[in-house]
């Protein structure tokens, strides 16, 4: 019983982690993060370093110029390129979005700098069978439009859920042929009738957010299942949490 419970806890943690990873990965932010501050001994000042890319976003096959400047560094390297001069430029042509990570060292410490080059890969179907770019594939849909979870007796979108909705809206706006079904679900505590209205409000909260993000309302079908279709039936918080969700699927 304990093992069972633990596996569910792990599953919940995994789901949460995935959601976080996806949330981060789907943010196509193109600004380089600021260089990390280094902690250095007082005797020798650590190096300074910066790296830029121009342009920061390219189409596949185009090239980009990296430009880096350091001071006080004894050795400088860039991941994927190797040892480089302390200052310099280099033209690269990455095949996919790449994080160029520069490390500058001296006896006083290490300083890092990053720049992310985004490569716009044309909408090539991932699987040969999928030749309908506008409609996407099930795998892509599941990766980009993920379930969102709610607190008990709540239909308010959490910050994580709002992030999921943002990336879902981006995907749906890029695939205008997809119609979606939002299913609202509740855990099995409380009353069946009340939970159907609660699930309705959960599904409508997601629909409202998607419409606000530019997805046409007539592409979205909303169904509340209340507690009639349980994902799991254990009387544990992790199971209840998995049941308190909006589930998105392609509406065919």
């Amino acid at each position: 019983m304990l093992a069972h419970r633990t596996s569910f806890l792990n599953k919940a943690a995994l789901v949460a982690t995935l959601a976080l990873l996806t949330a981060a990965g789907c943010h196509k932010k193109q600004a380089a993060p600021p260089p990390a501050a280094a902690t250095a001994p007082a005797t020798i000042a650590p190096p300074t370093a910066s790296i830029t890319a121009d342009p920061m976003a390219i189409d596949l096959g185009q090239s980009v110029v990296l430009n880096w400047r350091t001071s006080n560094a004894t050795s400088v390297s860039i991941d994927g390129i190797g040892e480089v001069p302390v200052n310099g430029t280099q033209t690269v042509s990455p095949s996919s979005s790449t994080n160029f990570h520069l490390v500058a060292k001296n006896d006083g410490g290490t300083t890092e700098a990053n720049v992310r080059v985004t490569v716009r890969v044309p909408e090539v179907p991932a699987a040969p069978a999928d030749n309908n770019g506008a409609a996407g594939s099930d795998a892509q849909f599941q990766a980009n439009v993920q379930d969102i979870f709610f607190a008990y007796d709540s239909y308010d979108l959490s910050p994580q859920a709002a992030t999921s909705i943002t990336s879902a809206a981006a995907y749906l706006n890029a695939h205008p042929a997809i119609k979606i079904l939002i299913g609202g679900y509740c855990d099995d505590r409380g009353s069946a009738e009340y939970n159907i209205t609660l699930g309705e409000n959960r599904a409508n909260a997601a629909k409202t957010a998607l419409v606000a993000a530019g997805v046409a309302g007539d592409r979205i079908r909303v169904v509340s299942y209340g507690k009639e279709k349980q994902f799991c039936t254990e009387q544990t918080e992790s199971c209840w949490q998995q049941n308190r969700r909006d589930q998105f699927s392609i509406d065919r």
Binding site: Y152, G190, S191, A192, E193, I196, L198, E200, N201, K227
Partner: protein, 446 residues
């Protein structure tokens, strides 16, 4: 007959509520159906007037005894204390035998069964054992096509007549029905019905869908419920006379939890056709729909005041956890009834005085509370708790005589283990009517 105390059970309930100034359950003692107000009633075994009727006497006697015993207004004499005679007619009974100890009956029900042609005939008599000069209270003949089920129905009719005479004119409920949602296979629930005592369980719908929340119309002609389809839950209307679905118009959104007005001319229900679940009222075809609540948050599970038709109780999550509210049937005069916790599934008593509902008073993660059945007096908001420590309870529904409440109970809290139970309206005499897999009972209006 007017001298008999009227509605002793409801009266006692009222006394309990009035007597309690505190909201603590410890002050309640719910032994209301015993004591001086109960009539001591003996039910003799019916005499078989012909060998062909022998097969039916057992069913008839058992059903009659059960009906009288569960009526809540009688102290029914145990069969083992009855005289060793089986009087079939008034000429054969020696009332002195029945009025003295240990029988000590104030009233005696007796009679005979016979098969005449295709029919089973029951002659029933009720005598006042203390009235030696004119003992007969009433005599009545009942008949129907001979079968075991007819024997059951004739016993119900005789019991109802006895209860009607001795309870101050409130009709008995032995011929009433309970509709409910039956889990028939994974993902499928059909609407079923049964006699009030749990007999004759059988399917009403065969839709192969997830059908819930049955509500029978006051004249027993229509059954409203909701079923899960492509567009979510929608209200369906089933004609019990035609045996098929009839039209009910829904205009978008989820539509569920129908409730009949006592006139049978209006249906209240929850609809999210405007995006937020609100209470709407329409005619029985779904036309002339108008919204009577307008507040963000779930509004669901309406229940009319069956006495007046002028008020509706319902459940609203407008302030967070669901609470019990009442309003006038035009949506005005909104009053919150519960002060917290998680309240669901109201049902209004036939006399309009009480609302029974399910309540988890300490709802929340880690809270030890259970979901139990409560009765609240509408005028004072004072309440009593009727179930304790028997697992999760929900969907209480009043019997037409106001003396009983049926409800769904899951001993371990798992939904699919729900079964339907009844109890007297003071919480005593609990018993299960079904096996597990039965949920959401709705007691017919008559």
């Amino acid at each position: 007959m007017q001298s008999w105390p009227t509605l002793p059970l409801v009266a006692s309930l009222f006394l309990l509520l009035s007597a309690s100034t505190l909201r603590a359950q410890d002050t309640f003692h719910l032994e209301t159906s015993s004591g001086a107000s109960s009539i001591r009633l003996a039910a003799a075994n019916f005499k078989s007037a012909a060998p062909t009727a022998d097969a039916y006497t057992h069913t008839f006697d058992a059903v009659l005894f059960s009906d009288l015993n569960s009526a809540g207004i009688f102290d029914v004499v145990s069969k083992s204390l009855l005289p060793q005679t089986t009087p079939g007619t008034p000429a054969e009974i020696n009332l002195a035998q029945w009025s003295q100890a240990p029988t000590s009956a104030a009233m005696v029900a007796f009679g005979n069964l016979s098969v005449q042609g295709p029919n089973l005939v029951a002659n029933g008599f009720l005598d006042d054992s203390k009235n030696t000069q004119y003992p007969q209270v009433f005599a009545k003949q009942y008949l129907g096509t001979a079968s075991d089920d007819t024997a059951r129905q004739l016993a119900h009719q005789f019991a109802d007549d006895i209860i009607f005479r001795l309870s101050g004119g409130t009709p008995g409920i032995a011929e009433s029905k309970i509709f409910y949602s039956k889990h028939t296979s994974p993902g499928v629930k059909e609407i079923w019905m049964m006699d009030y005592d749990g007999a004759n369980q059988h399917a009403v719908t065969h839709l192969g869908e997830d059908s819930i929340s049955p509500r029978v119309s006051p004249d027993n002609s229509l059954l409203a419920f909701s079923a899960l389809g492509r567009d979510g839950f929608q209200i369906k209307m089933f004609s019990l006379l035609l045996g098929r679905l009839v039209r009910f118009n829904s205009v978008g959104g989820t539509n569920l939890s129908p409730a009949w007005s006592p006139s049978g001319q209006q249906l209240a229900f929850s609809s999210s056709r405007t995006g937020d679940p609100e209470i709407w009222v329409s005619d029985p075809q779904g036309a002339v729909a108008h919204r009577i609540t307008n507040y963000k948050g779930p509004d669901v599970s309406p229940a009319w005041n069956p006495k007046t038709g002028a008020q509706i109780a319902w459940i609203s999550g407008r302030t967070g956890l669901p609470q019990l509210y009442i309003m006038d049937s035009d949506g005005s005069g909104v009053t919150r009834m519960t002060d917290g916790g998680y309240a669901t599934s109201p049902s209004w008593s036939p006399n309009g005085q009480f609302i029974t509902f399910a309540w988890d008073r300490h709802y929340g993660p880690g809270a030890p509370g259970g979901q139990d059945i409560y009765v609240m007096e509408v005028a004072t908001k004072r309440w009593i708790q009727l179930t304790h420590d028997i697992g999760r309870c929900d969907f209480p529904t009043w019997s037409p005589d106001g003396r009983h409440i049926a409800f769904a109970n899951s001993p371990d809290g798992i939904d699919s283990h729900n079964r339907i139970m009844t109890m007297l309206a003071d919480g005593t005499q609990k018993r299960a009517l079904t096996e597990s897999g039965a949920d959401m009972p709705n007691w017919s209006w008559k």
